[in-house]
């Protein structure tokens, strides 16, 4: 090959790199290792993280993932394909996305879904940007966000939108619900949208109907953030209030994606048909080929960075395609009946958990009704409890004190369908024993 190129050695191929910049070796990189050795290494690393039983939710949920999901999603033809630019050679990926879009639209009760964004937090940020761009009636770069929206989503959205001069304004909460009374104070100002999470980050159910109608009356858009699993039983954003939310978004992880230290997951984004041209990300459409046969292709590409460059709706390019493939398979296996059962079982398990833990002296269950997460209030800081029970390999929940100091010593707990009665009982017993053997500080 070198002689065909006309060079003596491969070093010569790098001769356009100025000599001063060339290096002859990489420092601080270990020598390569064989598959057997790396397998041994990674298994020993993985083993260090094993053996815990988790009652943490707070944005990532441990559900059963049918074996077929990843067996199929990791088939080489899905796993090692690129974004489907050559439609004729990518009908598999394209049809999967089309099916995914259909499922998400049906679940949320809205019209159009994109092909995914990075995760729930960035999907929320993109929803905010989209609302500002597409709400032509209100000319505002301000957005109202309920304090019951996932705190890290709010942080991320602020980060991703502030460069464009967008401001997120918080609406306070009370009893785990967006405070309707607080809205009056906002009556004078103009906002492009209001953002509501249902179930809220605290697991509670908000009065989304009233809030949606209030917002629409003021020409605001309504952005719904939903755990998609909850949509198996809860009213979909498309049916909130009289007219339905305008945009729905959130974290797709509960649909067949492992919790896996936080990613890769995928953000979903769905909206009303009218504003689709402001949607970020890929969208797949069905059309026909020159023989009139149906087929799928990326559509509305004029929104995207590779065509529109600095005027694109977003800079997103690579998204979370494989995760969406997994989610589509997951949803096909479960169907709405399966999702409903899971949602109900998660709710029931969390109820039992909250009740059991609530029986402990010094522990109170704070808000009801809740979906599959509950807030517990403690008579002491939860940090030490997390540590103590962690030593028994029980991950007790998410410490709310930094995000919601107004709730006191509060812990957000979650028992999905994966948690057994025995595990719940063990948690309660361990808590009881730790609480009773230590003093309130």
């Amino acid at each position: 090959m070198l002689s065909a190129i006309g060079v003596a050695d491969t070093e010569t191929l790098f001769d356009e790199i100025p000599a001063a910049l060339r290096i002859n070796e990489l420092n601080n990189i270990p020598a390569g290792m064989g598959e057997a050795a790396i397998t041994r290494l990674m298994r020993s690393r993985a083993a260090k993280d094993a053996g815990v039983v988790s009652f943490i939710g707070a944005g990532a949920y441990e559900h059963h993932i049918p074996a077929a999901v990843w067996d199929l999603a990791t088939r080489g033809e899905f796993y090692s394909a690129y974004t489907p630019y050559q439609a004729e050679a990518s009908q598999g990926t394209l049809q999967v996305i089309y099916e995914y879009q259909s499922m998400m639209a049906n679940l949320t009760g809205l019209d159009v879904s994109n092909a995914s964004l990075y995760d729930g937090a960035t999907a929320f940020a993109e929803a905010c940007l989209m609302a500002v761009r597409s709400n032509r009636k209100v000319n505002s770069r301000k957005i109202l966000v309920s304090r019951s929206v996932n705190p890290v989503y709010r942080t991320v959205a602020r980060r991703l939108t502030e460069g464009q001069g967008i401001e997120l304004v918080e609406i306070s909460c009370r009893d785990g619900q967006t405070e309707l009374a607080a809205l009056d104070g906002l009556a004078a100002e103009e906002f492009a949208a209001v953002c509501l999470q249902q179930p809220t980050f605290l697991g509670t159910l908000d009065d989304v109907d009233t809030l949606t109608d209030w917002a629409h009356a003021k020409q605001m858009f309504v952005i719904a953030i939903c755990n998609p699993m909850s949509l198996a039983i809860l009213r979909p954003p498309g049916e909130w209030g009289a007219a339905g939310a305008d945009i729905a978004c959130g974290e797709g992880q509960p649909f067949g994606i492992p919790v896996a230290s936080g990613g890769p997951y995928f953000g979903y984004l769905v909206c009303r048909q009218q504003i689709v041209r402001q949607m970020p990300g890929r969208i797949v459409g069905r059309t026909v080929d020159i023989d009139g046969k149906p087929g799928f292709t990326l559509t509305l590409q004029a929104r995207e960075q590779h065509i529109r460059r600095s005027k694109a709706t977003s800079n997103i390019c690579t998204n979370q395609g494989l995760m969406v493939t997994a989610a589509t398979i997951y949803l096909s296996l479960l169907g709405s009946d399966g999702l409903r059962r899971i949602a109900l079982q998660c709710h029931a398990n969390t109820k039992v958990l909250a009740e059991k833990l609530g029986e402990t002296d010094g522990v109170t269950v704070m808000f009801e009704p809740f979906f599959h997460e509950a807030v517990l209030q403690f008579d002491r800081p939860v940090g030490p409890l997390i540590k103590a029970l962690g030593q028994q390999n029980i991950l007790v929940g998410y410490d709310l004190s930094a995000d919601y100091p107004e709730l006191g010593h509060a812990l957000l707990v979650c028992a999905t369908e994966m948690r057994t009665a025995a595990e719940i009982a063990a948690y309660a017993a361990a808590l009881e024993s730790v609480m009773s053997s230590s003093k309130v500080t």
Binding site: M103, S113, I233, L234, G263, A302, N315
Partner: protein, 489 residues
């Protein structure tokens, strides 16, 4: 036989058993919260699901089935073991909010990954959190802004990009509230230095460069460029989507770059997944280190810990709900450990060898290579302009005819400044036989372009569908399946 839409396989009440709890208690909340109708989802058996998605998968071209020389995308082999090990049950079951005590194994990998990424870029600090190249760019430009803001130079809002730059570069500038300023490319593929000198000034926040550029050539005047931009008070951003071109041959930090993102899903071989997920880790020099997005993995004695806003008050903050695409980072970690220092140099060796070989073979076969006098990096451009003029056969026609011959098409019509171009990236994992076969296919297509252009315009004929009506796809938007919507009507 087209594969039906999964909804069309549905029958009421059918289901794949065993995946959901058998008899959960009913919901006990007020009716106002409950949905009235079940959402329309497919009702199918597990066999139907397996068969449907297996068949769909077979409709794809992919690295695992076909040569896929998609320029700028680095479609190289993903070692299977990377996926296997990233999917170890303990890794995939670890909750992101589990205390670090319950994640030392994972965090150790991440810490070492940060170190290895420092080594391959020459940067002094790394954040793993960006979830794709474009988010890496966002992080980079946001850090540049934060840097200028911190120095009281908030008016620096212009991001310079070459006209050949990837679309995400100008789009990112906009997302960060900056203005993208395009500068032209000189005739030999390097940046036009005079043009650069003309645009830099007090409004300059920085410049974003891909090096080797998306034209497939190494920017030889990089040191001058760095001087010009730095002197003007701007910073240099390295779009390192395709580091395979120079891995172990040169360090972006030495070239004068202040910040870099790497597409781990290209250079470090993690799945492209039909459109992701990826990872766009960022590296910075001392100047920008305080601004890195969090979380970052740190070390406290024997323990690995998360460094957050509390530890890094000037950080641009969080870009995702947790720590980014952890699983992709694990895959990249495994890949880097497999290869080691020598293996990484072999990556650039073979990526460059394959590209130059393929470029030369095509040139010898009479194709017009855009920068024929230059070395190819990991990719290069062929312009079909003269063939198009003489035959009417466009780059798109060539692309479709390649599909019929068992090759995925190269990137077409990018970079935008070269007419009728193919951006060809063979990658380091292909064999000479494959490259030779690809040349033969292109030659055959060109011959047919002259002899019977109809046959090429009719391509593809062997794919699941023929050319699709993209205009209709936009005009009659059909993006959600409806029971009564037949697209052939």
């Amino acid at each position: 036989m087209p594969e039906p839409i999964i909804f069309e396989l549905s029958a009421p009440g059918r289901r794949a058993g065993g995946h959901a709890p058998a008899s959960p208690p009913a919901a006990d909340f007020p009716a106002q919260y409950l949905r009235h109708d079940e959402p329309l989802l497919p009702e199918v058996s597990e066999l139907q699901v397996v068969r449907h998605f297996t068949r769909l998968s077979q409709l794809n071209y992919s690295i695992d089935t076909h040569f896929y020389p998609l320029g700028s995308c680095t479609m190289k082999y993903n070692p299977r073991v990377c996926n296997r090990l990233a999917m170890l049950p303990e890794f995939i079951e670890r909750h992101p909010l589990a205390a670090t005590e319950h994640g030392q194994g994972f965090l150790e990998c991440m810490y070492e990954l940060q170190d290895m990424l420092k080594a391959v870029t020459g940067m002094t600090a790394i954040s793993l959190t960006p979830m794709a190249g474009a988010q890496g760019e966002f992080a980079g430009v946001a850090m540049i802004r934060a840097y200028h803001d911190a120095r009281g130079e908030s008016d620096r809002r212009e991001i310079i990009v070459p006209d050949a730059s990837h679309g995400t570069n100008p789009a990112t500038a906009t997302m960060c509230g900056c203005t993208a300023v395009e500068i032209p490319t000189g005739p030999d593929g390097d940046v036009d230095l005079d043009a650069l000198r003309r645009v830099v000034g007090p409004a300059t926040a920085g410049i974003m460069l891909t090096n080797p550029s998306t034209l497939g050539v190494f920017e030889r005047q990089i040191t001058e460029i760095a001087d010009i931009v730095h002197k003007a008070g701007g910073l240099l951003y390295y779009d390192g989507a395709n580091l395979n071109a120079i891995l172990g041959r040169a360090l972006p930090a030495d070239m004068g770059f202040d910040v870099i993102h790497l597409n781990l899903h290209k250079t470090f071989s993690t799945p492209h997944g039909g459109g992701g997920p990826g990872s766009g880790v960022v590296g910075v020099n001392e100047r920008l280190a305080p601004f890195l997005p969090v979380p970052i993995v740190g070390r406290d004695g024997e323990q690995y810990v998360w460094l957050t806003e509390a530890d890094r008050p000037q950080s641009i903050g969080r870009l995702s709900a947790f720590m980014g695409n952890a699983g992709i980072l694990l895959r990249a970690y495994v890949y880097m450990r497999l290869l080691g220092a020598d293996g990484m140099r072999r990556v650039s060796e073979f990526a460059t060898l394959n590209a130059n070989y393929l470029m030369k073979r095509l040139q010898m076969a009479g194709f017009e290579v855009t920068f024929a006098e230059r070395r190819a990096s990991h990719e290069f451009i062929v312009s079909l302009q003269s063939i198009t003029k003489e035959t009417g056969i466009s780059a798109m026609d060539f692309a479709k005819a390649l599909l019929d011959r068992g090759f995925h098409a190269p990137t077409t019509y990018f970079p935008l400044l070269v007419p009728e171009c193919l951006l060809i990236e063979p990658t380091e994992t292909e064999t000479r036989q494959e490259l030779d076969a690809f040349v033969a296919a292109l030659v055959e297509i060109r011959d047919l372009a002259y002899k019977s252009p109809d046959t090429i315009q009719a391509a593809p004929i062997s794919m699941p569908v023929r050319r699709l009506d993209d205009v209709r796809a936009v005009r009659q938007l059909d993006v959600v399946w409806q029971p009564d919507n037949d697209p052939t009507e």
